[in-house]
């Protein structure tokens, strides 16, 4: 039997992040994804997290039960679409897409089977919105943010200066990888990778 696959370890260079801005080159990656809007922690947001994890665990365990390649369920990630300065947009109007990185060998039929199982279990209708999606971010500026989510703008400011100093500009949605579980870890110790796709300045 092959060893358990851990995508974060396999693509280590994309995830090892210092507490200062750095450039990383990412490859296209497949995710389980669900999008929505509303305040983080709100009803819609929580229902989407539930649906996403439900799909992730069910797909993994169904494969494992069938004796197929086992893998670690990756951490929660999120893309945020503020359309400008996040501080200017009320939280309940924030748009986001929640993601869990998933091995390439997971196919749509695996997801469809999991969704069917979960709906039979009486899980919320959000289940049907979970999709498999490949995201290609290319070159990104990345930095580890330690502390409450409310203070991310400080980290982003450092990343922006770094981008400018290197003749780059942000070119894609704000992407976060949640290394800590906010339900367990106090805000000042939360670790989050902030990833911002970048291109050469015009």
């Amino acid at each position: 039997m092959t060893a358990k696959l851990d995508l974060y370890k396999l693509h280590k260079a994309e995830y090892v992040t210092p507490k200062k801005p750095a450039l990383v080159r990412t490859k296209p990656a497949q995710y389980l994804a669900i999008g929505g809007d509303g305040a983080p922690g709100g009803t819609r947001f929580s229902a989407c997290i539930g649906a996403l994890y439900g799909a992730a665990f069910t797909i993994k365990m169904t494969r494992k039960f069938a004796g197929k390649q086992d893998y670690t369920v990756c951490k929660l990630e999120g893309q945020w679409f503020f359309g400008g300065d996040p501080a200017a947009v009320p939280k309940d109007q924030w748009k986001w897409k929640l993601l869990i990185r998933t091995p390439e060998f997971i196919a749509r039929k695996d997801l469809a089977a999991a969704v069917e199982t979960l709906l039979k279990r009486g899980k919320s209708p959000e289940m049907e919105e979970v999709a498999l999606e490949t995201i290609d971010e290319g070159v990104c500026i990345q930095m580890l943010h330690v502390g409450p989510y409310e203070r991310e703008h400080e980290t982003v400011a450092l990343m922006r200066s770094f981008a400018e100093a290197n003749g780059l500009q942000f070119s894609g949605p704000h992407h976060e990888i949640y290394l800590s579980d906010p339900r367990r870890v106090p805000p000042e110790r939360l670790k989050t990778i902030i990833r911002l796709p970048a291109t050469k300045q015009d």
Binding site: G50, F57, T58, M61, K64, L118, R121, G122
Partner: protein, 309 residues
């Protein structure tokens, strides 16, 4: 002011309450050093549930029941060497060692001398230092002991009132360091059935003292919270973890050291808390998983059930 005073005295009463119960056990052990000691019987003497007893004992005495008995037997052997002419082999046998070599090894470790050397020296103490102050005494009952103080004064215990939790569980019978296999099998089954989600709580209940119960017989329940729709099937049962007050302590680090935190909570914090244990098992909630977490970063919330105030 008055409330404050009452509070202190309630705490002292609780400490006395637990000390008296353990003292009964200590007297019994000294009077029956040559008999196999049944955990159930000792727990009964202490009026504690067997699944609580060993944690309270270890925490309050600063040594496990098994090492306590071993130490007393060694102290008795030292006393015999010192004051009698009994042959070493006979003393070794009486101290429950099957061979002279095993006895000599244990003796040297405890006293720094071989049994023969010890016998020749007059002034060596036949006691092994221990904070509880309980030692082997020839034909004398122990009258009191010093309860171990919490090393960590800031032990961060919170009291929570919990609702009953309905859980699916799979029983593991075997060594505690192999529960991972049961978890693998259990979560695989639940996962493929669509029963794992972001709200699932992963809970463990240990029913035995691994120092007393043989490793192939220790029992553990791997539990995951489920909704009312779930029905027991095959190897997977359903139980309800009772609601009520619980004292909670977060254990930081590897699972192998969980029992140290249990002993601190039940044997050091509890007797000084003014609260009493309820006769339902403790449980632990796993906040992360060894699957993607280094052992030193594992977090486990230990819950000890308390009687209502």
């Amino acid at each position: 002011m008055r409330i404050c005073k009452m509070h202190v005295s309630a705490k002292q009463t609780t400490l006395r309450f637990y000390k008296e119960r353990l003292l009964r056990v200590l007297v019994h052990i000294q009077e029956h050093l040559d008999e196999p000691l049944a955990l159930e019987e000792l727990a009964r003497l202490a009026c504690l549930a067997p699944y609580h007893f060993h944690h309270v004992f270890t925490g309050m005495l600063g040594e496990s029941l098994a090492s306590h008995v071993r130490r007393l037997r060694l102290e008795r052997a030292a006393t015999r060497l010192k004051f009698t002419e009994m042959p070493v082999v006979e003393i070794a046998f009486e101290a429950a060692y099957e061979t002279h070599e095993a006895f000599s090894r244990a003796f040297r470790k405890a006293f720094g001398l071989s049994p023969a050397q010890f016998r020749k020296r007059n002034r060596t103490s036949a006691r092994i230092q221990i904070p509880s102050g309980i030692h082997y005494q020839h034909r004398k009952r122990p009258g009191s002991f010093r309860a171990a103080q919490p090393e960590d004064k800031s032990m961060n215990v919170t009291i929570k009132h919990l609702k009953p939790m309905r859980v699916a569980f799979m029983r593991h019978v075997g060594p505690y360091n192999e529960v991972g296999k049961t978890w693998e099998c259990f979560t695989m089954y639940l996962g493929k059935e669509g029963l794992l989600g972001s709200g699932s709580q992963f809970i463990g209940i240990s029913h035995d003292d691994p120092a007393v119960t043989p490793p192939d017989k220790t029992r553990y329940d791997a539990c995951v919270t489920v909704d009312g729709m779930f029905r027991a099937a095959g190897e997977i049962g359903v139980q309800v973890i009772p609601g009520g007050d619980y004292a909670m302590l977060t254990h930081f680090g590897p699972y192998e050291k969980l029992s140290e935190s249990y002993a601190k909570l039940l044997g050091q914090w509890l007797p000084r808390s003014g609260r009493r244990l309820r006769a339902t098992p403790c449980f632990e909630i796993y906040l992360n998983t060894p699957e993607n977490t280094a052992p030193e970063d594992l977090l486990t919330d230990i819950h000890a059930p308390l009687e209502a105030k």
